[in-house]
């Protein structure tokens, strides 16, 4: 396959960026999207040019490190992460635009790499349970009903990649936050801190400069883990309850 790539290049956090066009040739359709970029980077290296910086880690779709806006879609045309997207999803001769996640809460570090530590700070604000460490408790000492365990597991699938923020017209982090609220809120271990958690996570989210949710649903459509929109409803419900109880 021969493709034309238009890629965002930016030397540093404060530098002014621009779109640069790179033709690539002889791309196998069995390559992953990131392997295709590796090929381009090897060519750039050979020519003595600066390779394109992008994030990746596990390359098997579970770590949440990679994430590119591919022709206007977060993680590209398939419901998966960028590393698990393969070139067979494109056709010979395609022109592909590659941009970093765009949100002021995710500032660009270099080229396609963004700083997502705002997500870490949201988790630090309340996305945890306080438990004594030590020997593990007996597995069945805290019973969890099956439907609640299932919903919690579904929400826990979030890998924190940030595609929801990237796809949202308001650059809101509500799907990410809702997933964590639902994950912990459905379990008995999450109850003691439930009210405080939602209030401080939402407050941190707003402080980081994410936008508000207008229930468009673009986040859920872009999510590689298919987290449904109703986790945002759970977040709103918990927040309303917590505010009413004077948290």
């Amino acid at each position: 396959m021969n493709l034309t790539l238009k890629i965002w290049r930016q030397a540093g956090p404060k530098a002014k960026g621009e779109m640069v066009t790179y033709p690539v040739t002889d791309i196998s359709e069995d390559m992953s999207f990131l392997e295709m970029l590796d090929v381009l980077n090897e060519q750039l290296n050979a020519r003595g040019e600066e390779p394109i910086a992008f994030d990746s880690d596990c390359r098997e779709g579970i770590c949440g490190m990679c994430g590119l806006m591919i022709s206007g879609k977060a993680h590209g045309p398939e419901v998966t992460t960028t590393c698990q997207l393969h070139m067979r999803s494109f056709s010979d001769g395609d022109e592909i635009t590659i941009e970093p996640w765009r949100a002021d809460a995710f500032p660009v570090i270099k080229d396609l790499v963004v700083d997502r530590s705002s997500f870490d700070r949201i988790i630090q604000a309340g996305g945890f349970i306080s438990a004594n460490t030590g020997s593990a408790p007996e597995a069945h000492s805290v019973p969890v009903p099956k439907p609640k365990a299932d919903r919690s597991f579904m929400a826990a699938a979030c890998i924190g990649c940030g595609a929801c923020v990237a796809a949202c017209p308001n650059a809101s982090g509500m799907l990410f936050m809702g997933a964590k609220i639902t994950h912990l809120g459905e379990l008995p271990q999450g109850q003691p801190e439930r009210d405080a958690r939602v209030v401080s996570m939402v407050s941190q989210h707003d402080h980081e400069g994410f936008g508000g949710c207008t229930n468009v649903g673009a986040c859920s459509a872009a999510c590689p883990k298919e987290i449904p929109l109703d986790v945002i409803n759970q977040l709103n419900k918990d927040l309303r309850g917590a505010l009413m109880r004077g948290e």
Binding site: W8, G72, S172, C213, T214, N215, N233, N236, R240
Partner: protein, 217 residues
């Protein structure tokens, strides 16, 4: 902020439904409509003075409008601030037109509201041949015999329908009422029904007048 938006929006939903029902009285003729207009001003008399209930209700609507518009512009500016560098290529995946038109549609509705009040409440603009200000029914009928007035209203009602369609669903989501698959279906269906009933219900009188089904005398 979003709760404020949802609650003030809910008051408007209630109001437009009552308003729409009232408008349908024009099918009963000018007299029925005038009687209805008079009745609005005499509710709760003699506890309240003539027009008292109406003015209390109007004050409530103004407060709700201020809250709704303020929270809308606040959230809008926050959303703009959250992405100051825009994408070069953007495909709005699966976002419906009605959800993307909430903001501009809302502004359009606000402009329409100004026009609507000038025409029928403050009576500054009079487009119909019958300038008689003493009968609300005659005013309505003479205004809607002008085709472009009807066109403005039909466009505004389409905008209102879209706004309600997404708005009712969105408000139930914000209020946390959609936590199960069944309640989500109910919320979506309710939104569709309210949007359709409102838009069609409001559109019937102007269209009927334009096509001469309801005549002045």
């Amino acid at each position: 902020m979003k709760l404020l938006m949802a609650l003030s929006g809910a008051l408007f939903v209630f109001y437009v439904l009552v308003h729409m029902y009232g408008n349908l009285k024009i099918f009963g003729g000018v007299e029925a409509f005038d009687e209805y207009a008079l009745h609005l001003r005499t509710i709760l008399m003699p506890i309240l003075p003539f027009g008292g209930f109406l003015w209390i209700f109007r004050a409530l609507l103004v407060v709700a409008l201020a809250a709704h518009a303020y929270s809308a512009f606040y959230l809008w500016s926050r959303a703009r601030g959250a992405r100051t560098t825009r994408y070069v290529a953007k495909q709005a995946a699966q976002a419906t037109i009605r959800s993307r038109m909430m903001r501009w549609g809302g502004v359009a509705l606000l402009l329409f509201l100004v026009w609507h009040l000038l025409q029928f409440t403050i009576l500054k603009i009079n487009v119909g041949p019958d300038a008689a200000g003493d009968s609300a029914g005659k005013l309505v009928i003479s205004s809607f015999q002008v085709w472009w007035v009807v066109l403005i209203y039909v466009l505004a009602l389409a905008a209102l329908g879209m706004h309600l369609w997404h708005g009712v669903w969105s408000a139930s989501q914000t209020l946390g009422w959609t936590n199960s698959a069944k309640s989500r279906r109910t919320a979506k269906a309710t939104a569709t029904v309210i949007a359709l009933v409102t838009a069609v219900g409001f559109a019937l009188p102007p269209l009927a007048i334009l096509f001469g089904i309801v005549k002045g005398n």
